[in-house]
């Protein structure tokens, strides 16, 4: 056997080894030295259930959205999503104005959506001598500038629970004007309120000056938010509280007042607590939002989908059965029609299947039901190339060429057809992938990706593997006595 074929044989054996290593039942990760890679199969939303939300920049349609800001939005959302503790979440830019969020297995879409999309701009606002009603919309002068400057004016006390440690809470008179209503920040964004008229209040400080935030409970067990300010924030806060004792400092989230306590004493240690009508969940949600910062661009929900997992698992099982049946039938067909080369093609097919699967595990590619269908389809197409080659081979043999030459002629003549036809499939896959990407349609993307990978890998296995094995088997064979082995 020629040198070339021997070299390829070695490559193929190594590839087979890698494939088996990665796909060995029970392997969830592979390790090479210090590098470890998770290789378990990822299931898409339609298989494990969960939530998929497509968020869009909430700005007028003709206003351009700056790419760096969208990146920042994406990063903030990703942090918030990670804060939820969902495994394998997906947060991706989709087109120039949209962000796709996938939360597999997440049970509570309402809370999640509110948490993710809310802008989360926290402001400490100088309310002057009258407290602001919790739940009312206010206008502040924060737009454009970050933390506003503290205006000094002399007044002592402060009732923002100056705590030595964020956990303990000394008694503090919290003057919440007429309690009640929507202290829950999560619901705040849902209502569409007209721009409030009324005085513009001065923002002393924003959430950007917080260095850490935690949800906790006060002495009575009511959920509160404890925070620690950054160095700059501490200074601003201390200056302000020193000069505004006895006045009201409103805490405003996304232009809605959470609470409006009175400043009883100056707070110089940069720690404080926000109380309001929080539930444990809403306090946690707000803490997460504050921790990672406000969104530079407001968002709205363009599309939302929740999937229950039960449908998916049943379909998965069936698709796998269908795939197995499909591939067996194809393998059988190849043997019946092409005999000996057919067996070689089936070996190549098996290697194709394992190699493609390994790639899906390592990349990783998330499996959705259409994705699985695409994979099975690509198996059918993988054999295509072999069919072309073998038909050519039969022709050449009928034409009287010696076996070895016939094999080579078969391959080289068929290559052009294989290349052109697979290319057109690849072109459609690229277009599909791009189309799906612009709309966060992960099902479309998943299908395009699996089909494309399948086509590429199959080009390799059909040509290299089949050719190597054919030469391996045939080169020393006396063809004249073995016509029937080739289906002629």
């Amino acid at each position: 056997m020629g040198q070339r074929h021997l070299r390829w044989l070695i490559v193929i054996v190594i590839l087979l080894g890698i494939d088996l290593w990665i796909n060995w039942p029970g392997t969830t990760s592979v390790r090479i030295g210090p590098y470890s890679q998770n290789v378990s199969l990822r299931e898409g939303l339609d298989l494990q259930g969960g939530l998929e939300v497509l968020l869009e920049a909430d700005v007028p349609a003709n206003q351009a959205v700056d790419a760096t800001s969208m990146d920042a939005v994406r990063a903030v959302i990703e942090s918030r999503v990670n804060g939820l503790g969902v495994s394998q979440p997906v947060v991706q830019l989709s087109g120039s104005r949209r962000i796709l969020v996938e939360l597999p297995g997440y049970e509570n879409p309402q809370d999640a959506v509110a948490l993710i999309k809310q802008t989360g701009l926290l402001e400490f606002v100088d309310a002057g001598t009258t407290p602001l009603v919790a739940g009312m919309q206010v206008r502040t002068d924060v737009a454009g500038n970050g933390a506003a400057q503290a205006t000094p004016s002399a007044e002592p006390s402060q009732s923002l629970s100056p705590s030595a440690t964020p956990q303990s809470t000394p008694a503090s008179t919290e003057t919440l004007a007429a309690g009640a209503t929507t202290g829950t920040p999560a619901a705040g964004a849902a209502t569409a309120v007209p721009t409030p008229t009324g005085p513009v209040y001065h923002t002393v400080m924003t959430g950007a000056d917080l260095s850490s935030v935690n949800a906790g409970a006060d002495q009575l067990g009511k959920p509160v938010i404890n925070f620690v300010l950054s160095a700059a924030g501490t200074k601003i806060f201390s200056d302000y509280t020193t000069s505004h004792v006895g006045q009201y400092l409103a805490i405003v989230l996304d232009d809605q007042v959470l609470s409006s306590p009175v400043v009883e004493t100056p707070i110089t240690n940069g720690q404080g607590q926000i109380s309001g009508s929080f539930t444990v969940e809403s306090a946690n949600a707000l803490a997460i939002q504050l921790r990672y910062g406000a969104l530079p661009i407001p968002l709205r929900v363009a599309q939302i989908e929740t999937v229950g997992p039960s449908l998916g698992q049943d379909s998965l099982r069936r698709s796998l059965v269908a795939g197995a049946v499909g591939m067996s039938v194809v393998a059988l067909f190849m043997i019946l029609y092409y005999r000996l080369p057919g067996i070689v093609a089936d070996v190549a097919l098996a290697l194709y299947f394992l190699t493609a699967l390994s790639i899906f595990r390592v990349l990783p590619v998330t499996f959705t039901l259409p994705g699985i269908a695409g994979f099975v389809l690509s198996v059918g197409m993988a054999v295509d190339a072999n069919v072309l080659i073998f038909e050519r081979l039969k022709e050449e043999l009928r034409g009287g060429k010696p076996l070895r030459a016939a094999v080579e002629a078969g391959f080289s003549r068929a290559w052009l057809s294989i290349r052109d036809s697979n290319f057109s499939t690849l072109i459609t896959c690229i277009i599909l992938y791009w189309f799906g990407g612009a709309f966060g349609a992960s099902l479309v993307k998943g299908f395009a990706l699996t089909l494309a990978i399948g086509v590429l890998v199959s080009m390799f296995t059909a040509i290299i593997v089949t050719r190597t094995f054919l030469h391996l088997v045939l080169d020393r064979m006396d063809f004249s006595r073995r016509h029937s082995w080739f289906g002629i």
Partner: protein, 306 residues
Amino acid sequence: MNIIGKRYWFFGLSLAIIIPGMIFLAMGGLHPAIDFTGGSLLQLKFTSGQAPQPASVELALARLGITGPSVQTVGTDSIAIQAQEMDTTTKDKVAKALSSEFGAATVTQFESVGPALGSEVAQRAAGTVALAALAITLYITYAFRRVPNAFRFGIAAVVAMIHDVLVVIGGEAILGHFLGWQADSLFLTALLTVIGFSVHDTIVVFDRIRENELQYKRIPFETIVNHSVVQTLDRSINTSLTVLLTLLALAIFGGVTTRHFILILLLGMASGTYSSIFNAAAILVVWENREWRTWFRRGPAQASAA
């Protein structure tokens, strides 16, 4: 076997398949799903195993302020509600209200698409199909550049592709009319896959024509083309057969969620195979002979048609 000789017979067969589809399309058989129109889809499964009548559900929804919903029964224990876009709070409200009125129910599926997004997707979809067609034409013209009149190969392939697109859309319109199936993003995916595959198959035939044309320069074009088609019959059918077999397995054994998708693929691929063998090459011949000059004329055929 004279396939090219009987080409008008096969063109007629194609029309016989496409025209009914177009009729159903005109009758509004193609139902775009909310992916393209915007709106919401809510599927509820009732634990009692018995779904309420759609009419009573519609009444209940009207009381909740949901205008113009359409309710369908799915299987025996589920209903699917399609209405205008709704957010998660509304969805929970609806689910709770329906549960208290008709018995405990769980949400098996919920999807809501804003109308602006929906129409944008629809527009892009049309553009995507056009783009795919264009890209493939250009690629084929390039790949066949050494053959005289390479551009015709590209156009012929695209015409065969359009044939397949029409068959698929017509088929979907018929299914939509009789079974109420909707065309969603997966339908579009299937359509684009069919486009890619249709050409895959056509190229096999064209390839042989290219080879024969370069080799047998003195034989009349029509003869070369027919010869090529017959020679490649085996491989055309076999390459398609393997794909069709896998799709058939998926359709029969696969889960119900992808069945629509697979059936469209099956229809499209079968059509693709047919058009590659019986239509694509024939178009080349029609062009070469400029046969359109004789279509509307009665009397002796032109001498150049030989």
